[in-house]
């Protein structure tokens, strides 16, 4: 299949625009004018057929089970989309005065309040546009806090199981990273942590539950050690789906955290965004939140810019507002009990799946898991690897798990079913995983060649990187 540019021919596009006077641009000097605009020239029918075709080359949550660990690919309710398409929201200009934007400000105010209630944090900023943007904001808050206190601390601790965004966010704030080891049981190695704690440590970032899908059994001890050292505790909320309504992040000892609304709060991933990564803080960090902050005075919602200790502005305006609308809709739909049911079911589904698969695949850490668990390709015969298994799953109509992450488990397959999968789809996944294991024994080439039923077969990523072609050029 060719690209849209291959369908272009002069004169195909027959759309008609309202007329403008022929000399309407005479006031712009010629030397500033573009004379060679070349985008594409296609008709609407051709375009619709082409992009409908593209959509059919894609796999989404609505297509099939998407057990992508740490990404929380749950069902995206359609009422969310309907809410976010309301003209009162899509048509609101961010620079209109607050008296024209009371609906939008109210929604932001109430959403921040609800996220605070659910996590135990004192306040939230909704400005960060994605999880990693939230991390960056949170680490800046830590930096500002110590700057204000006049303490020079230049190190942030990060467990070896962490997402790559954690160290990358830390580096953007000028901190250096020290890695904390995990124990064979999947908890933070407390002794190693103790050996790293000194006056240079500004804080530690921990995903809770962690990326092995485990709840750190020493969490309160870790919190105490950090706080005794004068350091702050950052909670990465990427895996909040496991504990929403069941445990508050503030009670685990976190001082600052972010939430991925596009995970726990069911807003769609959109093929890579837009997400939203609100940042919550304990009371003593509230002054450092990004500006502006939405406030409510006597029933009127306003934007407060007068925040002298704020880290500053993080977004062109106030964040990914329509994503916030979707998360707000979801919270209203479920209420507290519904959200509690989310974490309880997500954890049950994951444990059921783990226990159904642990005889067939190696389970490196044998513990009750939270919302996800990690298998690997140890003992898979005939040189069949995690990557082969992931690709073969595509042939059977499943998305692949997260593979080769976390880094401390070689050949990791991180599986997160989420609460919205039915018993039948979980059982089907188990059946297929067992069948792939059998294929690895009996017909390994079949697995190594996979996928064969997808729109394209295995793609050569090495060639793409060796000689990058990053745009279409006329032949």
């Amino acid at each position: 299949m060719s690209l849209i540019f291959d369908k272009s021919a002069p004169g195909r596009n027959r759309i008609v625009l309202p007329p403008a006077e022929p000399d309407c641009c005479s006031d712009i000097p010629d030397e500033l004018m573009n004379t060679g605009l070349d985008i594409v020239d296609v008709s609407e029918p051709d375009m619709v057929r082409y992009y409908t075709g593209l959509s059919r080359m894609n796999f989404g949550v609505d297509t099939g089970m998407y057990p992508l660990g740490s990404c929380t690919m749950k069902y995206n309710p359609k009422i969310n989309e309907k809410s976010a398409a309301l003209e009162g929201f899509t048509g609101a200009h961010p620079l209109a005065e607050p008296d024209c934007s009371q609906g939008a400000l109210r929604l932001c105010f109430e959403l921040a309040r609800d996220l605070s209630a659910l996590t135990g944090m004192s306040a939230f900023s909704l400005a960060p546009a994605a999880g990693s943007h939230g991390e960056l904001t949170g680490v800046m808050i830590i930096k500002k806090y110590f700057e204000k206190k006049g303490e020079k601390r230049d190190t942030i601790l990060i467990p070896d199981s962490a997402h790559g965004t954690n160290p990358a966010s830390v580096a953007m704030c000028g901190f250096s990273v020290k890695e904390v080891k995990s124990t064979p049981g999947g908890d933070v190695d407390i002794d190693h942590l103790a050996s790293l704690l000194d006056g240079s440590v500004a804080g530690m970032m921990l995903t809770s539950p962690n990326t092995l899908g485990l709840f750190d059994r020493n969490i309160l001890a870790i919190s105490e050690m950090l706080h005794k050292n004068g350091s702050l505790f950052y909670g990465d909320g990427a895996n909040l789906n496991a504990v929403i309504g069941t445990a508050k992040m503030r009670d685990m000892g976190f001082d600052v955290m972010h939430i991925n609304l596009h995970k726990t709060f069911s807003t769609p991933h959109g093929g890579g965004g837009p997400g939203a990564g609100p940042v919550g803080v304990a009371d003593f960090l509230v002054p450092f939140l990004p500006a502006p902050v939405v406030e409510c005075n006597h029933g009127m919602y306003t934007l407060d810019y007068d925040r002298p200790d704020s880290v500053g502005r993080m977004h062109s305006f106030y964040g990914n507002f329509l994503v916030l609308v979707k998360a707000y809709t979801y919270i209203r739909m479920l209420g507290f009990e519904g959200l509690r049911e989310v974490s309880r079911t997500a954890v049950l589904n994951a444990n059921y799946l783990m226990n159904s698969l642990k005889q067939t695949y190696n389970l490196p850490i044998q513990r009750t898991c939270m919302h996800e668990f990690v298998l690997n390709d140890k003992d898979i015969p005939n040189g069949v690897t995690t990557n082969d298994i992931a690709k073969r799953l595509l042939d059977y109509g499943f998305h692949a798990p997260t593979v080769y992450f976390p880094l401390l488990i070689p050949g990791a397959m991180m599986i997160e079913p989420t609460e919205t999968e039915s018993r039948e789809s979980l059982d089907e996944f188990v059946r297929v995983m067992k069948r792939i294991r059998d294929e690895a024994e009996g017909d390994p080439e079949l697995v190594k060649q996979a996928p064969v039923t997808t729109p394209v077969k295995r793609v050569d990523a090495v060639a793409a990187a060796r000689k990058p072609v990053l745009k279409w050029e006329k032949k």
Partner: protein, 442 residues
């Protein structure tokens, strides 16, 4: 209502397989005192019917009236094909295209976006989007610092004030010094810019059309920094202007970044937006964010894949070019659909925007208002209004959001309004605006 698919019978059996007798047991690793404090007050749950009604009531709190507001987000017509095709859930319920065999739809759309943005900006490479214009500019500055190792950036005061604020936040965190260059006559003051150019300057950042709507003299800016090994970063926050105006690349820009919301995305209270970042070829391995490259599958069939990932956080961790992971994928898809729908007729649309803006501007001048700056513009311009506050309020009471009050951003511009005019502001609307303006006293 909830979205859980398992039944009470399933739960019993699944607990058995899991070797526990209750769901609570699965949470035993969480200290009991934490679990027992989890309850909180939340509104709801609502039935879907009541929720729908509630959301309509919340949105009605926004008062949408005809407006001439721009300043970084623009109200343009969105063709139904954009909503229709981007609403296909194979697109919007997909994750980042890490498994290329089942993501060719997303990957091809990104590749097409990269191609079109290169053509519009005159750059060699473009990435798969940033969060928004402001963060794309901050990342462009970081990229320039990585490129030449110098840690100072000079930003013109005609760059969007919010973008400059975000740049200040990022620069403070990353240990980069920012210096601002003044403006005169509505554009960057070349003498002030020259004065700011010390040896350690990594880049000069200008916006065109700038925050006042004026088209900057990019040639003069480039001449000022030529031979100094300083990168020229050009910010564009009304990308429709690129269909009418010569590309920043043709004036010697090294990096072009900004906001592409105008392409198929609603104003939406300022988000989600669509940051873009494009650059010359030597920046390829220094770019933040995702890049899609062309490759082939095992059978030699054309296929697309995320590439040069060793720049990115999931591989390079603290040595990555940025921490960005999720970007604005669906907004990018909407932009591609919009750009393909208009195709080369985007130029006509840009002309129409300029024509409507010129109409409003000329009529304001006829009425005796004065333009703050006498420079070529695209679809925004600044008008000085006597008793601006009173005029603004009076017009609002008559159902018009006149324009953006600039005093909030530039104290010296008290009494000036920034007007943005797009194809959505009809001739009739402009007439009606004038009739009211003439009839009211303030």
């Amino acid at each position: 209502m909830s979205y859980i698919s398992i039944t009470d019978d399933d739960i019993r059996e699944m607990l058995g397989v899991s070797g526990v007798s209750s769901i609570d047991e699965l949470f035993a690793d969480i200290p009991e005192n934490i679990r027992s404090n989890a309850r909180c007050d939340l509104p709801g749950p609502l039935s879907e019917i009541d929720l729908d009604r509630h959301m309509r009531s919340v949105q009605s709190g926004n008062w949408l009236i005809p407006s001439f507001l721009g300043g970084g987000v623009y109200h343009h017509y969105i063709p139904p094909v954009v909503d229709h095709l981007s609403s296909r859930s194979e697109f919007y319920t997909a994750y980042t295209p890490y498994q290329p065999e089942v993501s060719q739809g997303t990957l091809r759309a990104i590749f097409e976006f990269q191609t079109i943005m290169c053509r519009l900006t005159g750059m060699d490479i473009a990435n798969a989007s940033m969060y928004d214009g402001a963060t794309s500019m901050a990342e462009a500055i970081f990229m320039s610092v990585r490129d030449n190792g110098k840690r100072k950036a000079v930003i013109s005061k005609t760059v969007h004030p919010n973008y400059r604020e975000v740049a200040r936040t990022y620069a403070w965190a990353g240990g980069i010094e920012l210096v601002e260059a003044d403006y005169s006559g509505g554009v960057t003051d070349i003498a002030s810019l020259e004065g700011a150019l010390q040896a350690d300057v990594s880049c000069v950042v200008v916006q065109s059309p700038n925050f006042f709507g004026c088209i900057e003299d990019l040639k003069a800016v480039k001449d000022t920094i030529a031979s100094k090994k300083i990168n020229l970063i050009v910010v564009v926050n009304e990308p429709l202007s690129l269909a009418l105006l010569k590309s920043p690349g043709s004036f010697g820009a090294d990096i072009v970044c900004g906001e592409a919301q105008s392409f198929g995305n609603p104003v939406a209270f300022g988000g989600p937006l669509l940051g873009f970042l494009a650059a010359r070829e030597p920046f390829m391995r220094k770019m933040p964010g995702r890049l899609v490259g062309k490759s082939a599958d095992l059978d030699g069939k054309e296929a697309y894949v995320l590439t040069l990932q060793t720049r990115e956080q999931h591989i390079r961790r603290e040595r990555a070019t940025s921490n960005i992971c999720s970007n604005e994928g669906l907004c990018l898809l909407r932009a591609v659909l919009y750009l393909v729908y208009y195709g080369n007729k985007l130029r006509e649309l840009a002309q129409l925007n300029h024509a409507r803006a010129r109409l409003l501007r000329n009529r304001l001048l006829e009425k005796g208002f004065s333009c703050a700056f006498n420079r070529p513009f695209f679809n925004e311009f600044v008008v000085t209004v006597p008793q601006a506050e009173a005029a603004y309020e009076a017009m609002k009471n008559n159902g018009f959001n006149s324009g953006l009050k600039l005093g909030r951003f530039y104290p010296e511009m008290e009494g000036a309004l920034l007007f943005a005019v797009t194809e959505m502001n009809t001739v009739e609307e402009i007439d009606s605006f004038f009739n009211i303006l003439e009839s009211i006293s303030y």
